[in-house]
């Protein structure tokens, strides 16, 4: 029977080509508009490190001003002071912790013809790579002792290694940065978590830094922060050391806490650290420390752009309009075939067989609409890429994967079937032979 209904469906679609095309187009365009935005939303709100997102925690302590909270209603600062980051890092050495900040460095390549160029570098501690599961192409992270001994070692990104050494194994090579010489100990494989969850201060979807070097070395050589710096208390022009001792926040801190017990222990550790600092006259606010796992952190930091949320809402309504359109057209189609239907019913067709017939027809339209929708989604994403051609990171947001393709078809078919329900029900409730009287 299914094949027979399929044939009937195809015939009926072919009998009204303009109308069927309009229905397919309406569903296709609705799906296309909706899925374009959904795809971007899906990428933006993706989990960048699903295997560990439950046990990695961003750390916040409320070192802010006594007069105003960092952010309403009573949010602790999103970064840390140097004093607290290093204080917690040292005091909590039985926890796996990472502290870091972003800095700009100038790479001076060897050879007269190679011009110096600026890159972003991340000053961090050795566990960064293990904690965030950063893949290595060559070599390995630096050791804990390199951190303490302030060894001038670096880990290069794949792209920078390509640029400086043509992609060869560069372990042991020296790289000159702002007049300081560093030894390469590792080269990363391709690594680009989206969003860049471990530091959401500047560009949420940007590239990771191009090189990594020990936090202790960066501070010893007075590297400034290239990220955001916020201060609530003046510290004057006392140079780098005054900055380090200031109440300015500019450092990101994460901890890996695999069990609930560890998480509790870490919370207590934070509270006791702050309580102790209070006796030294710092931390004028009430205890307000927080650890947030990756997904909570992305939520707090509102990584999904408001514009995308707005567009998602409007695109969903757009799909609603397209579906209303389809319902209306299907209904009109059924009404026009009232005579056929009542004749078929009079000849013995059951309600359920009529139902299957019309639902299959709607399903066909849904599938066609879905296929068109995928094509339009692809076009829509190209269009958005085009609008933002100056922004490199947008290319990472407009990628369609199989999940999205399948969801598009599924959404199309479900929408078409939902749209078909009422018209089909109307068709099934036409009484047999009711329309035959006048003939």
């Amino acid at each position: 029977m299914f094949r027979y209904y399929l044939k009937l469906g195809l015939l009926s679609i072919r009998a009204n080509p303009a109308l069927s095309a309009l229905m397919v187009a309406a569903i296709g365009i609705g799906i296309g508009a909706c899925m374009t935005i959904v795809t971007i939303y899906y990428v933006m709100s993706g989990n960048p490190i699903p295997q560990k997102s439950e046990i990695l925690f961003n750390v916040q302590v409320d070192s802010w001003s006594p007069d105003d909270p960092y952010d309403e209603p009573n949010e602790p600062p999103e970064q840390m002071t140097y004093l607290d980051a290093t204080g917690l890092y040292q005091a909590g050495d039985d926890f796996k912790q990472v502290i870091m900040f972003l800095s700009d460095r100038v790479v001076q390549p060897e050879g007269e013809d190679n011009l110096p160029f600026e890159i972003e570098s991340r000053a961090t501690t050795h566990d960064f790579f293990d904690m965030f599961e950063v893949p290595f192409q060559y070599g390995s992270p630096w050791s804990a002792s390199a951190d303490t001994a302030e060894e001038r070692v670096i880990v290069l990104s794949q792209a920078l290694n390509e640029k400086l050494f043509g992609g060869a194994d560069s372990i042991g090579e020296q790289v000159m940065l702002n007049g300081e010489s560093y030894r390469v100990v590792g080269v990363l494989d391709y690594w680009q978590p989206i969003p860049k969850f471990y530091d959401l201060n500047n560009n949420d979807y940007g590239m990771p830094a191009q090189l990594f070097l020990p936090f202790s070395v960066a501070v010893a050589n007075e590297h400034g922060s290239a990220g955001n710096t916020n201060c609530w208390k003046p510290f004057g022009d006392g140079g780098y050391s005054a900055f380090l001792n200031s109440e300015c926040i500019w450092i990101q801190m994460w901890a890996e806490l695999p069990t609930a017990a560890e998480q509790d222990r870490y919370r207590q550790f934070l509270d006791s650290y702050v309580t102790e600092q209070k006796t030294l006259g710092r931390f004028p606010r009430d205890l307000n420390n927080r650890i947030s796992n990756v997904e909570e952190w992305l939520e707090i930091q509102e990584v999904v752009d408001e514009d995308v949320s707005m567009l998602l809402g409007l695109a969903t309504l757009f799909l609603v309009v397209c579906l209303l359109n389809t319902i209306g057209l299907l209904l009109a189609k059924v009404m026009r075939r009232t005579k056929d239907i009542s004749l078929r019913r009079a000849l013995g067709a059951s309600k359920s067989s009529l139902f299957s017939q019309y639902i299959i027809e709607a399903g066909l339209i849904g599938i066609a609409g879905g296929v068109l929708g995928i094509a339009l989604t692809w076009l829509g994403l190209r269009g958005i890429l085009n609008l933002f051609s100056e922004m490199d990171f947008v290319q990472y947001l407009v990628k369609m994967d199989w999940v999205m393709v399948m969801s598009a078809v599924l959404l199309a078919v479900v929408s078409a079937l939902a749209a078909a329900l009422y018209p089909t029900w109307r068709a099934c409730s036409i009484t047999p032979a009711s329309q035959l009287r006048i003939q």
Binding site: E118, N178, L324, E390
Partner: protein, 403 residues
């Protein structure tokens, strides 16, 4: 007019017409709110930055050799650029309007901690700042060369003078009718800053800041390795001067790199890229939506005509003129549209109230809803015109045939 009969006939076949009305209602809700967003973005983009955007370019200079004598390098750069024919003026500063990155501070009226403060952007520069940005001094005086200092680690006090924007003055002294010049405000809790001048407009570097019109010029130069230069040229010579100056500076010192060489026009474009893209996307969505709704009306009206072929024939046979048949369908569409548009108006306002709450959108302008109503009425009438004309072509002889 045949309102009564048409209305009763609509009620006999509700479902199809309710669907069109609903479609028009949702279309209208989307249209109105999309236009509200577009308007908001367009207004933001139309705000002047206060600088002479057409004739300014900027770049960054990054010294990377340790212990470079920054003060000497900056002075040399400024001299070189200022003496280039076609250049009006130049400054080394920390930021400029629309750059999306900069320095902000709070100003208070009284010294001491815990005071209510007014936020402002800070531009460190010298006596050439007003001339270089191309902003207009409306009160007081420009900086005097003797006021300009370099930052010193030993002196932790803030520079004691400042030129503020008029908007900042108004925020600091809301009740002041006269001049802001000569008044003292406090920065860093206790450091006094005397207002020496007022400029009409100079935006903060962040276009999305709610106090984007607040900024202050500070008569201090800072000798960090990272410097931003702002160059103002004679009208028309900006584009040819950019490569000349880039090359000149690259040759003058090998101990630094020059990058982010951008015209102010490009800076503005980058800054508002998201907004202009949003406007284009919404424009596209609204157009597409209107077309789809229009096509839906065409489809349904065609159906309704072909279903009523016999009735129309009978009406014609009974003496209805062609225009009367056209009028019937036009009027019918007008009535359906009106129901949809009224429902759409309510839906649009509800959606707007939600968006104002959730996304901080500004409330609707009064004329958006009436305009959307008018557009949708016209779209409906245009969409139904074709089928209505075809209906009027139906021959009265149809009435005599049995289908």
């Amino acid at each position: 007019m045949e309102f009564g009969p048409i209305w009763r006939s609509l009620l006999r076949n509700k479902a199809g017409y309710v669907l069109i009305a609903l479609q028009i209602a949702v279309t209208m809700a989307i249209m109105v709110n999309a236009v509200a967003i577009m308007q908001e973005r367009a207004n933001d983009m139309a705000r002047p930055s206060g600088v002479d955007e057409d004739n300014i370019f900027t770049f960054a200079s990054i010294a990377f050799v340790p212990d470079t004598n920054m003060r000497a390098l900056i002075d040399e750069d400024l001299d070189l650029i200022r003496n280039t024919p076609g250049v009006i003026d130049v400054i080394a500063t920390n930021s400029f309007p629309l750059r999306q990155g900069g320095w902000s501070m709070g100003l208070t009226l009284e010294p001491g901690a815990g005071q209510e403060s007014v936020g402002t952007a800070i531009y460190f520069s010298d006596e050439h700042a007003v001339n270089t940005y191309g902003t207009r001094l409306i009160d007081g005086k420009d900086f005097d060369p003797t006021q300009i200092t370099w930052n010193e680690e030993s002196v932790s006090k803030w520079a004691p003078a400042g030129i503020i924007t008029e908007a900042l003055g108004k925020a600091l002294f809301p009740d002041e009718q006269g001049s802001y010049v000569g008044k003292t405000v406090y920065i860093n809790e206790n450091d006094p800053v005397k207002i020496v001048g007022v400029v009409d407009r100079l935006q903060a570097p962040w276009k999305g800041w709610d106090i984007v019109e607040h900024s202050m010029l500070v008569p201090q130069r800072r000798d960090g390795e990272f410097q931003r230069y702002v160059v103002r040229t004679e009208p028309g010579s900006r584009d040819e001067l950019m490569p000349v100056i880039e090359e000149m500076l690259a040759n003058s010192s090998k101990d630094r790199i020059i990058q982010q060489m951008r015209t102010m026009t490009e800076v503005r474009h980058r800054s508002y890229l998201g907004d202009s893209a949003m406007i284009k996307m919404l424009m596209f969505i609204v157009t597409l939506l209107t077309v789809i709704t229009g096509l839906g009306i065409v489809g349904l009206a065609s159906f309704s005509v072909s279903r009523r072929t016999r009735q129309i024939g009978i009406r014609r046979a009974l003496g209805a003129t062609k225009p009367a048949v056209v009028r019937y369908f036009m009027l019918e569409n007008f009535m359906i549209s009106t129901v949809g548009i009224v429902a759409g108006g309510i839906l649009a306002v509800a959606l707007n109230m939600f968006m104002v709450n959730a996304f901080g959108l500004r409330p609707l302008s009064w004329y958006v809803i009436p305009s959307a109503m008018l557009i949708l009425w016209i779209v409906g009438q245009l969409a139904v015109a074709g089928p209505a004309r075809r209906a009027s072509e139906i021959s009265p002889a149809i009435a005599t045939r049995s289908s």
